[in-house]
């Protein structure tokens, strides 16, 4: 790591979803300033080829590095799945964390959790990124994966609860309810906004594993291990987007539940 402790943390996502990671980082590390880059002109990454996603991810990390961040979180499941080790090789002196490994590694500490559900977008579930990483840790796990394509538009409409949301949750997760899970991984950065609705759907009997929370925890560990926590003055947080700042601001305020400032078009 080549940085000063007061340098900001960089987070990038293809769009707004990574703001759930931003929120967890701010909760866990309130003394840190964060630069968030949303590649909103090129969202969604999920339907694009591996080469293209690597190229975009490299551009995003390069920009954050140029802004002087001390660590980068890739808050995008698709980019974490296919571009993490590639950008790590390109920036050997920068700590770069994805959203998949932290929750998978956490499960190593909870060997009693055997029947694990994973939900995400079509692309994330089809990539088997979570399933393969989980089985590599513990080949005995019983994994049930399900893509839930309506969850992202539901969240972007602000429908975090209510009858429509409950019925859509039931449509996707009734099979997981029929044969109870020990834990469910929310494998998409939008899904923490549905956390309470999903938790309630399972009657509070399934442990909900939020990748945003576990990623923020991993970041805190890495900064602590490297004596890199901020202990001095703090810059204001900044948001950089590749398309219209206005539409980003609207959705961002929905995600964060507060007004935001410092949104820049890049």
């Amino acid at each position: 790591m080549l940085f000063s402790n007061h340098n900001p943390i960089g987070i990038f996502d293809s769009g707004v979803g990574g703001l759930t990671v931003f929120a967890e980082v701010k909760k866990l590390l309130p003394e840190e300033s964060v630069f968030y880059l949303g590649d909103t002109a090129r969202v969604p990454y999920g339907s694009k080829s591996v080469d293209v996603i690597r190229r975009y991810s490299l551009a995003n990390v390069s920009m954050l590095a140029a802004l002087g961040v001390k660590a980068v979180v890739i808050a995008c499941n698709t980019a974490s799945a296919v571009a993490l080790s590639f950008v790590q090789q390109c920036f050997p002196n920068l700590e770069i964390i994805g959203v998949i490994d932290p929750v998978v590694n956490y499960l190593r500490t909870r060997p009693e959790l055997k029947r694990i559900g994973v939900i995400g977008t079509n692309m994330t579930i089809a990539s088997k990124a979570y399933q393969n990483a989980l089985l590599k840790n513990d080949a005995e796990l019983d994994i049930v994966a399900k893509s839930c394509p309506l969850f992202v538009p539901l969240v972007e409409e602000g429908l975090f609860e209510g009858e429509i949301t409950e019925k859509i949750i039931d449509m996707y997760l009734s099979a997981m309810k029929a044969k109870p899970l020990d834990a469910l991984i929310l494998g998409c950065t939008h899904y923490p906004m549905l956390r309470k609705a999903v938790y309630d759907y399972f009657g509070g009997k399934v442990e909900i594993l939020d990748t945003a929370f576990h990623t923020a925890k991993k970041l805190a560990e890495v900064l602590t291990e490297n004596s890199a926590l901020n202990c001095g003055q703090k810059e204001p947080d900044r948001f950089f987007v590749t398309d219209s700042p206005d539409s980003f601001r609207l959705t961002a305020e929905l995600f964060l539940g507060r007004k935001i400032e410092n949104v820049f078009h890049v």
Copy 2:
């Protein structure tokens, strides 16, 4: 028009939505062969800038022109709104039709329809393309516009009817139901898949204006006026996509309700 009568018709859209136009064209003009171009690698257009949409639209029309089409339908609301006259200027010898004008012109023949609803994506409604075109024809119209962002993902999940669909329709259209409309324009190429559900929601009392149908009718008129209808042999239909043919094929079969062949990656 520079073509032979047996040349195909070209249709392009940013993705799969334009297949509703494809279906109407095939219904109305069964003797014609159609080349469909879905720019699936760059979908959605709605969030992109005017310059970029014009550039993409020009590339799409150029490709269809190179394939020898005798006319082009822009089956994408965003591209119809911002790029139609631009590509018409670039290809003065090619008939190019968008999806907005045909339904607007149809309403000129139905002056008794005064209170008109328009539904579409966020971008289409915000662009006011339908609203402005309607008011240009008849400044006395009472227009109610509403964006329905969950309709596209609903359609792509195959949820054309049922409880979830009904509740989402009610969420968006209850205000239009409270003060009855004379007609409702489905201002998005995906929405004809919800036509029956929307019609039933209004108790069959609102005339549903399907842009896909009116666009196909306009195309038939243009071909007839130019004595350009096919009267000989017919090539097979072809589908060209800029991203994975497999995922296009899946959604296309959902839209068309039948197996499709001849899907090519370009």
